[in-house]
Symmetry: C2
Subunit: 199 residues, 2 copies
């Protein structure tokens, strides 16, 4: 199939990573459902057949885009640190990273909203993604509660769900009206309101 | 144009309201961008030309759908009550209503995520919608602060932004994984954590 690509692209240039980056750009503009592999191929400067060599279906491409983003986030922000104060600080760092990358936040928000239906190809990803995020923050709030660092009356499970939902909700309001919404400060304010010592 | 509709529909039956309900259903399945007036017309049991008589463009139909929803919400839940405890209680009632209407929540979440870009036909609607929601809850938190009913250290503006973002973020997580996410209880828990007396 590679031989049939034509177009004079040297083998090394047409890379998997280029396709993933093109996919992020196309999804960001048209949404996942509004996008096509042809459009992604065009954006990546590769033939449709050439793209199919790397990603045989739309679903395979989407899965690869989401997995790449999670892997990048997790490695950069050390989200798998031992539960406690550090993990919450790393989520704030992730938010700080996100506000300098509106394109990927836009993609994520749209996909999350599209993927609520069980037959969407990213549905299982988002079920897992949200469960992991809630679990990770729950464990951190639980550890902080044991150490007496959670305020009286704050339930670790509710605080975890609230924190994850707040990140998502703030992202959409921030993307809609960036000058009116301070995403990072609001997340910090929430954490400071449930912790006994500021983060 | 009505005369050209054909199809044997009696005049009274092809109603504006039917078209709006059909639009909600189609948007909910395909997203706004993934939908077409032809598809909405088909769902409403009306010809394409017949639909254009009521809504000449996709944008006009979308605006009418969003305005109908806000008018219904506002009237049912009395969201324009004087600022204070009642307004917050009405937002909780709105959330209770929403969890029995997942289709409209799904539509709203998708559109909000699609409409973050300034050239989306619902962008101005969402800028206004979010500003009004923040303002209304801010005024309520401010009044409660004056009455000594907001806990020390809680900033009315941050609490307002948090509350609105939390509603949105919880909706997406709840739609994704309904058995794991208690939307209404989590909103109540947040309000109880910032107010000195439970709602």
């Amino acid at each position: 199939m590679r031989a049939a690509e034509g177009g004079g692209y040297p083998k090394g240039r047409i890379r998997r990573e280029d396709i993933l980056s093109a996919a992020v750009a196309v999804y960001g503009e048209a949404g996942y459902h509004g996008s096509s592999l042809r459009e992604v191929a065009k954006r990546a400067g590769i033939t449709h057949a050439g793209l199919l060599y790397y990603f045989p279906t739309k679903e395979a491409l989407l899965a690869a885009v989401l997995e790449r983003r999670d892997a990048e986030d997790s490695e950069r922000e050390q989200l798998d640190a031992p539960p406690g104060r550090d993990v919450l600080a790393h989520f704030i760092a992730l938010a700080e990273h996100n506000v300098t990358h509106p394109g990927i936040v836009d993609l994520y928000s749209r996909l999350a909203a599209e993927a609520v239906v069980p037959d969407h190809p990213a549905h299982d990803y988002f079920v897992r993604h949200y469960r992991l995020a809630r679990e990770s923050t729950f464990e951190s709030f639980r550890v902080l509660a044991e150490q007496g660092e959670l305020r009286d009356g704050v339930d670790p499970a509710a605080a975890a769900l609230t924190f994850v939902a707040l990140m998502d909700g703030l992202q959409v309001q921030w993307l809609t009206d960036p000058d009116e919404v301070d995403l990072v400060a609001t997340l910090r304010h929430f954490l400071d309101s449930v912790l006994t010592k500021p983060l």
